[in-house]
Symmetry: C2
Subunit: 225 residues, 2 copies
């Protein structure tokens, strides 16, 4: 039994969990700009949510700010980071070192949030021994060994779609319990394993929705003119 | 005045807008599996939301399904796609053709949602004339010309952080009104321009939260044992 955040067993709604990293990013931006305290309105604006929702979300963490002063940026950052668990070190393995795998291995946002890429694996022997972000690309067959050796709980799949399910199966068999899947298509895993999927087109679709409305608005103005 | 979705001016809450692409993805998965109709519970499970929220979201689109039958997968797909605007063709330009730019140019999820990459631009002359996903990489200076020629409204920034603001400024000056920013850091744009930021570490943080809880649960069981 290791020492852990004693509050980690409380239930926080999934939608709130999904917003905590967004608040963390907004707080980092405020801190980088030299802001020491902020109102819920300022933080909500920086995070792109309304302030009532922000206050509700933070209340699950027992964070209410100080009346007339607001939130202490540094302390709230620590509270959220602890709640998410990114004050810990998370060893991560990336499988599939094509263009996307290269980009992920070089992505500074992982390291700054406690995610440490301990291995890059690829099934293609032509990629082996290449150094990416200072890490050697190794054969996929070393997965089981690396998971045990480095205590890896989180695996990232950046392979083509056709390989994703087989990679996920091997990850789960090796003891990985959380998978971030960048490959198109759905992978199935046993109960107790979490999968999150990154769909790079979702944000583009949200932009398209607003573009369509801007265009409709412009047309309406044209008709009135 | 061109023919557009007459309903596009109705106000849909931003959180609902953000979920519409997720429903669209879930519907595509159901259709690929040969499902013709689905209950709100099935669709909600496939999309990872609760079914009351799904029904509320779809009610903004005037989609209520048929009692005892559920939703027609094909028709609901069309309704959502039309509402988002992805039944239209959206020409997109990608600036910064490093590893991430390569990965984005090759990403099949853009094309399947109506986003057509019309140009790949990079400031580095050594990248010019390279073919990526069948498209020639061209000098960044051609941006203005391409935006006008192809009617580009959406730009994607995949440059290093240090170049992102300058690229955004040029995009806005050229007439682009929506920007998807993959570069770390914040970019500022004038009113009327939408920016969405992709933070690849957010999904990892959500996994970390659940990993931490799994570990806490395992520890608790250990103590009880």
């Amino acid at each position: 039994m290791t020492a852990r955040n004693p509050d980690a067993a409380r239930d926080i709604p999934e939608a709130t969990v999904a917003r905590l990293p967004v608040y963390l990013r907004a707080l980092t931006t405020l801190a980088d700009a030299g802001t020491a305290t902020c109102s819920s309105e300022e933080l909500a604006a920086a995070a792109g949510v309304n302030s009532a929702k922000l206050r509700k979300d933070l209340s699950y963490l027992g964070s209410y700010g100080t009346r007339g002063v607001g939130y202490d940026v540094e302390y709230l950052t620590y509270q959220i980071a602890r709640e998410i668990g990114v004050t810990q070190d998370w060893p991560v393995v990336i499988v599939g070192i094509g263009n996307l795998g290269h980009a992920l291995a070089n992505y500074s946002g992982f390291r700054s949030r406690g995610f440490r890429v301990v291995a890059l694996l690829d099934a293609d022997p032509r990629r082996h021994d290449e150094l990416v972000a200072g890490i050697e690309v190794r054969p996929f067959d070393e997965l089981e060994h690396i998971v045990v050796e480095s205590g890896v709980a989180i695996g990232v799949i950046a392979t083509p779609a056709v390989a994703a399910q087989a990679v996920a199966d091997r990850m789960v068999a090796a003891g990985i319990t959380s998978i971030l899947n960048f490959a198109p298509g759905v992978i199935s895993v046993p109960d107790g394993v979490d999968v999150r999927k990154v769909d790079l087109s979702i944000e583009l679709q949200i932009l398209a929705y607003h573009e369509q409305r801007k265009a409709a608005g412009a047309d309406a103005r044209e008709v009135v003119r």
